[in-house]
Amino acid sequence: MNTATHEIETIAFRRTRSTYGLVLLGFGLFIFLVFGLNTPAGVFTTFGTNLAGSQAITISDLVVPSQATIFAMAAIAAFFGAFQLARGIRSTGWLAGVIAITFIVSFLTWAAADKSFNLTGMLSSSLVRATPIALAALCGVISERSAVINIGIEGIMLLSAQVAVVTATVIGNSYLGLVCAILFGGLVAAFHAWLVIRFKVDQVVSGVAINIVGAGVTAFISSRFLAANINGLNNAAVFPTISIPLLSQIPILGPVLFENNIIVFLTILLVLALHILLFYTPWGLRTRAVGEHPKAADTLGVNVFFVRYVNVILGGMIAGLGGAYFTIGSVGRFDEMMTAGKGFIGLAAMIFGKWNPLGAYTSSMIFGFADSLQVKLQILRTPIPSEFLLMAPYLITMLVLTGVIGRAIPPAADGQPYEKQ
C-alpha cells in the first residue's frame, strides 16, 4: 500500500517535472525570440534608482546592455528548464519565481531599450497601488479563516471611502475620518455577519447585496449631496507622507518602503500582525479551528458564532481602512464607483495567497505591480497594447485556481453556515 502510493507520487512528480522543465525551456526560447531578437545590439537600458523628492542618498543609475541582459535571462530560464528536466526541483514556487523574474527583467529591458526607466519609482507606486488590494485581501483572509465568505468587500470599501472623506471634511481632521471609516467598515461587516450567522443567509448572496446597496447608497449620496457642496463635504486633506528617519535614506528601499503615508505603513504592520496572530496565538488557533472544523472546535469549548462575529467585524474594519485609502489616502475626494473592482481583485489575491496574510500581501504586490507597470508602459510606448498586460494578473489568477502553480485550498468549512446541535 505504502509503496503503491509512493510509486503513484513518483510518477506524478516525474510527469510534472518534465512538464515544468519543458515549460521553462520554451519560456527561455520565448524570451530569446520575442524580446532578445527584437532588441538592437549595442543599446543600453537605464534603470533609474533615484526618486525625485525623496530623502534617500543618491546613487548612480543602473545601466545595462539591453540585448546581453535579455540573452542572459533567456539562458537562465533555459538552464533552470534543463536542470528541471534532468534533476527536478520539488518546489513549484521556485519555478514560478524563475519564470516571473526572468520575464519581468527581460520585458522591462526590452521595453526601455535605449531609454530610461525609473525602477524605484515603479516599485514605490506598486507598493502604494497594492495597498487597497492587500487590505481587501486581508479582510478576506481574516473572515474566511473563520469560514465566512465576504464577497461584499467592494461595497464596504466604497461606503467607508465615502464616510472617510465626508467625516474628514466636516470635522476637518483626516485621522478622525480614518477612525470613522474603520468603524463604519466594521459596522457593515457586522450586518453581514448578522445576516449569515443569525439568519443563515447565503454568504455570497449577502455579500452581493452589500455590493449593490453600497454602490447605490454612495452614488445616491454623492449625486444628491456631495456634488452640490464639494468644498463643505467632499474635499479633505490627504495624509502627509511620513519619512522614517535614517531608514528612509537607504537607496531604493528607503523611498519604496519608508516614505509613505500612514495607511501604507498600517497595511504593512497589519500583515505582520495578522500573520503572528493567526499562527502563533490562541485566537488564531481558535479561528483556524472554526474555519476547518467548527463542530470539533465547538466540542472543545470554542464559541463558533462568537469567533465568526469577531473575525468578520475585524475584517470589515480592515476593509474600512482600505476604503479610506481611496479618498483621504490618495486624492482627498470621493468619486462614484472609485474602488473600481479592487475589492474583487483583493479576493483573487487572497486565493492566490492561499489564505495567508503574507501570501495575500505578496499577491497584492503582483497586482499592484501590474497596475503601475501599465501606467509606465503608456509613457514608454511599447508595441504591445497595455490592455493585454493588464489582463495578465487576471489570467494568472485563473491559472492559479486551476492548480497549475500550486493548489489553493480554502478553509474546509468555508462558506458553510454552522448549526449548533
Binding site: I149, I151, L195, I197, R198, F199, K200, V201, D202, Q203, V204, V205, S206, V208, A209, I210, N211, I212, V213, G214, A215, G216, V217, A219, F220, S223, R224, F225, N303, F305, F306, Y309, G341, F344, I345, L347, A348, I351, P385, E387, F388, L390, M391, Y394, L395, T397, M398, L401, T402, G403, R407, A408, I409, P410, D414, G415, Q416, E419, K420
Partner: protein, 401 residues
Amino acid sequence: MSDQAIQPVEVTPPGEDPKKGTRGKIWQALLVPALAVLTGLLIGAIAILAVGENPLEAYGALFAGSFGTPDRFIEGFQTYFASGDTSKLLRAIYPITESLVATTPYIFAALSVALGFRCGLFNIGAEGQVLMGALCSAYIGYSITGLPAFVHLPLAILAGAAGGAVWGMIPGYLKARFGAHEVVNTIMMNWIAFKLSDWLLKGPMQASGSRPVTPNVEATAELPRFFPDPLRLNWGFVLALAVAWLVYWFLFKTTLGFEIRSVGASPDAAKYAGMNVTRNFVLVMAIAGGLAGLAGTAQVLGVDHWVGQGFSSGYGFDSIALALLGKSHPFGVVLSALLFGFLRSGATRMQSMAGIPIDIISIIQGLIVIFIAAPAIIRWIYRIRAIPVSDEAMRTRGWGG
C-alpha cells in the same frame, strides 16, 4: 452572540399545510418576493423622506415615468378617434415602451444567472458575457455588408450568443476540469472582457473618429422596431419572452433539464444516479453565457446599434438580483425583469421631476436581494409561518476546490 443566537428553522408539518393545490403553491411562492419588494419600496420611501423629499410625489413621478400619465392617454385616444392622428397616442405609450426596452436585456441576463443557480453555479460574470455578446454581434453587424436581413440578423444574433457562450464556458470548463470556483473565474473573465473591449474599441473595432465606439451596425442586422422613432421597442422583447419560455421548457420538460436541476439540488446524488456532473457544469455555463450574450445582442441590434465603453456596467449585479427575486424560475425572472425595467425606466423621470437620484433604485434593489435571501427577516417582520425548506433561496458552495 450567545449560544441561542440561532433558533431552529420552523418547518410546517406536511399534513398541516393550510394552503394546498397549485393556487396555494403559487401564492406561497409569490408571497415572500412580493413582501420583499414592498419592504424595499417602503425603506426606499424612508430614504426619500430622509433627504427631505415627498415619497408620494417621488413614487408618483416614478409611476408616470414608467407607465405614462392617464391624461396623456385620454388626449391620445381623443385625437386618434377624432382625426386618426397617432402621434399623440404614440407619445402617451412612449414611457411604457421605454420600460419594455429596458426590460429586454434584463430578461436575458437574469435568465443567465437563474439557469446557473438551477445547476448550483453562481454566474457572477454576466457583465463580461453581455459585453462579449454585444461586441461579437456588433462586429458581425457592421463588418458584413450586402446580406439580406433574414440571413444577416440571425447571424448577428448567433454571433452574440456564441460570444457570450465562450465567455461563460471557460469558467465552466475550469470548474469541471480543475474545480476552480466559478465566482472568482467569472469575475476574472469580466476584467479580461473589459480590457479586451478597451483595446478593441480603441483599435480594431473603432469607428472613424476619435471616440472609442464601434461603427453602427448595418440596417440589415437591426432588430426591427414596432413603432416609428423615437419609440425604440423592437423584436428583441419578443425574442426575450420566447427565450424565457424556451429556458422553461428546457429546464422542466427535458431530460437534460432534469439532470441540471438534479445536479443543482445535490451533485453527489446526481453523480450516484449516473449523471455526468462536470459535463453539466460546462453545458450550463455555456448556455448561461450565451443567454447573457443575447442581452448584449438585443441591446446592440435593437436599441443602440453600436457599442461603447461601459456598455454592460451594472448588468452583472442587476441580473443576480433579478434571478434571486424571480426564484430562478424563467417566468419569475420575466416578472422581476419587468418590475426592474419599469423601475429603472421610471427612475429617470423621478430624477428629473422630483430630484431623487436614480441610484435609489439600486438601494431598493439591494434591499430586495437581502430580503429574498433571508426570508426569515420577512417572515419575522410580517409574522408569516415558515414555508418548507425546499423553497428557500439558493445556496452557493464556498470556493470549491
